[in-house]
């Protein structure tokens, strides 16, 4: 079946009153971005729907594969075009219905006659087209309410447009329509899910990762770039900041008693993240913390860590169970990357019994013996920044072998 265009229905953003234009424009840009390499793709945005047109059949196929991952789309339908002529429409209707499953399905025809000069009225058309389809697919059962297959025929001046398939979109809001934030990305299961959930709410993100070579390996870093790339597939591309953290971590181990070192480590990370956030003009910091999951994620710990900044910390997973989080990570394709077995900087210096109820005063007391701010500034300054598209190019090309 050859499709001529795709009808894209907006998600929640249809409700958003005066901001709608901003949302539509964002969505259009995000789709354009995702289809950047498809030469023949063009977009036409209307008030409550958008059309994606592609002359090249391959491009169209790829577009259909990519659309389900872009936030802000409620659903989309490939559309076949033909002449606005009853016989042509009937013929096309058979093609469109025949491209999907028909056995045991219910069916209905709906007509939209924008071109009022078309020589048949809606009722006549419904009967003519419906009758013709039924004569070819006698297994279909007509049903007016909630049919399995709804054949939409839209008759406009420039032709008739037929569609019957509805693909579910990713929902949510276009990435970037709700501001920019910085995601703390460890490489574990939780943080990519946290990033995903906020992207779904329209937040565009940069990610920050702490590396402690030689304790952490190049492969641990690779894991994080792979995660960033996976997150990039959900709309706007994600930039990654990698912070050299070894020196600070060694200083912490030296200065702070074992059972509080974890709290101080988190406090340092948060301060570094906050400085990076400020530099890139992001508004909030996102973490994958989930209440009570580990010692650093108790309410007491969160309070002690959070004390270093007034920046809003968004914790979308705070009330989720681990299994729920795993479930999402599998759906969004980050799970398999997250479970690769490399040490990250949080697991390497883990003390054997970290405090679950650290006292802020105590932490401050131990930190006061050492001048941490210069090391923090240095770490921020010496970070490496990787753009998502650079990562993609770094992938080995196996096509000559396959």
């Amino acid at each position: 079946m050859e499709w001529n265009e795709i009808l894209i229905r907006y998600g929640e953003l249809s409700l958003k009153g005066r901001n709608r234009n901003v949302f539509v424009r964002k969505l259009k840009n995000n789709i354009k971005d995702a289809m950047r390499d498809l030469q023949s793709v063009r977009l036409k945005a209307e008030r409550d729907r958008m059309f994606l047109v592609a002359d090249d059949e391959e491009d169209m196929k790829k577009a259909i594969e990519r659309l389900p991952h872009i936030f802000g789309i409620q659903s989309f339908s490939p559309v076949a075009k033909c002449e606005a002529d009853l016989d042509a429409i009937k013929k096309k209707a058979i093609d469109v219905i025949g491209s999907g499953e028909t056995t045991g399905r219910t069916f209905k025809v709906e007509i939209k006659r924008a071109d009022k000069t078309f020589p048949y009225v809606t009722g006549e058309l419904q009967q003519e087209i419906g009758g013709h389809v039924l004569s070819q697919f006698p297994e279909l059962v007509v049903q007016m309410k909630k049919p399995d297959i709804l054949l939409l025929v839209d008759i406009r001046k420039d032709g008739a447009f037929l569609t019957s398939k509805v693909f579910k979109g990713a929902g949510g809001m276009p990435v970037g329509s709700n501001g920019h934030s910085l995601l703390m990305l460890s490489g574990g299961i939780d943080s990519p899910v946290a990033g995903y959930l906020l992207m779904k709410r329209g937040v565009s993100i940069d990610a920050i990762h702490f590396a402690s070579p030689p304790y952490t390996s190049e492969l641990a870093k690779r894991k994080v770039t792979d995660l960033t790339e996976q997150l990039s597939s959900f709309g706007a591309s994600v930039r990654l900041h990698i912070i050299p953290f070894t020196e600070l971590q060694q200083a912490i181990v030296k200065q702070v008693p074992d059972n509080l070192s974890m709290t101080t480590t988190r406090r340092m990370m948060l301060q570094i993240a906050d400085k990076v956030r400020e530099e890139i003009g992001a508004l909030a910091i996102i973490t994958g913390e989930s209440l009570g999951q580990v010692a650093s994620q108790t309410l007491d710990s969160l309070t002690a860590i959070n004390e270093v900044t007034a920046t809003p910390i968004l914790r979308p997973l705070i009330a989720m169970d681990k299994l729920e989080i795993i479930d999402i990570s599998q759906k969004i394709g980050t799970y398999d990357i997250s479970i690769r077995p490399y040490e990250d900087c949080c697991t390497i210096f883990t003390p054997s019994n970290p405090k679950t109820k650290p006292k802020i005063e105590k932490v401050q007391h131990f930190e006061s013996f050492f001048d941490f701010p210069p090391l923090i500034d240095e770490a921020v300054r010496n970070r490496t920044t990787i753009e998502a598209f650079e990562q993609r190019q770094a992938d080995a090309d196996f096509s000559d072998l396959l």
Binding site: T103, E218, L219, R222, A396, F398, L401, L402
Partner: protein, 376 residues
Amino acid sequence: MIYFDNSATTQPDESVLESFIAANIKYYANPASIHVMGREAEALLNRSKKQMLSIVDNEDGEAILTSGGTESNNLAILGLSEAYKSRGNHIITTQIEHPSILNACRQLEQTGFDVEYLAVDEQGRISIEELTAKLKKETILVSIMHVNNEIGTIQPIRQCAELIKRNSRAIFHSDCVQSFGKLPVSMEELGVDAITISAHKVNGLKNSGVLLLKKGIKPSPINFGGGQENGIRSGTVSVPNAVAMAKAMRISSVKEERTNFREWRNMLVEACGTIEKVQVLSPLDGAPHIVSLAFKSIKGEVAVNYFQEQGIIISTSSACSSKNKKASHVIETIGLDNKFKNGVIRVSFGNTNTKEQVKEFIDVLHRFMELIEKGM
């Protein structure tokens, strides 16, 4: 030599061998290792699997690499029945499956499964009515081969799939070892949950096969070890074999039936029509690359020997059963006249064959018949 035994195995494609060697030189690391070479090998393995999955229109599914068609079929029957036994104990297959399906089913019968074997008509085709009648709520697995390896019958897989999906919760497996590369094999179009493909039947390497599964379908393991392949098939995965197989599949995959094979097949069938002592067993609408013939009162083995002397390699029924003296289970099942039963031969085309070779075969066939008339 003219090689007409491509259903038994094929000559590996040169470019497949090149890929196999190149992958062995550069990506020999164990894909389960955590070091950088292991990661590269794993990336290549994943790309190979992705390619296999995309060729059969099952992008989000799973590919389990095995040692070949037999192991893939074993894993489908034994592994899926074990994994889904809480749903029921009834299995349906056909009387003309490959022994790797049939013998696995017989094994299951020993352990309390109820296996029913669909009969076939003289063309080797199952009846949809019988399948309808046999499906019940305890049915957990149905396995029906796409193309029969001895006579080339094509089963109505799509129709079976619709029926199975509508009337049961059973998983539908199809052995596509003989169909892949000659007919379009799309899991989407066929409506199947699992298929078996073997590399060496499509100019790939021996000892290399795959069980392709729809998303969410997971057989229990039938061998035990380090839990590779998602815990389903233990044993170090051979990345070079995966690469070679993905390449062989890409080269041989077809969107439509192989028309050159069909033309040669028609030439052969037409030639046989003029010979009284030869009966064509393959149905007219069978697979394009297999022609099964039976000689009246002449042993198949004699024909194989004569053709061999004339420089043409053919086989009696299937390679697996050809060393057996008895007529094969497929030949028995389709109810062939006793006079023809022992005179079955199989001619199967492949990528290395030409039209001239088919003409040559027909000439030799005529000479053979003349000789027979003289009484050898």
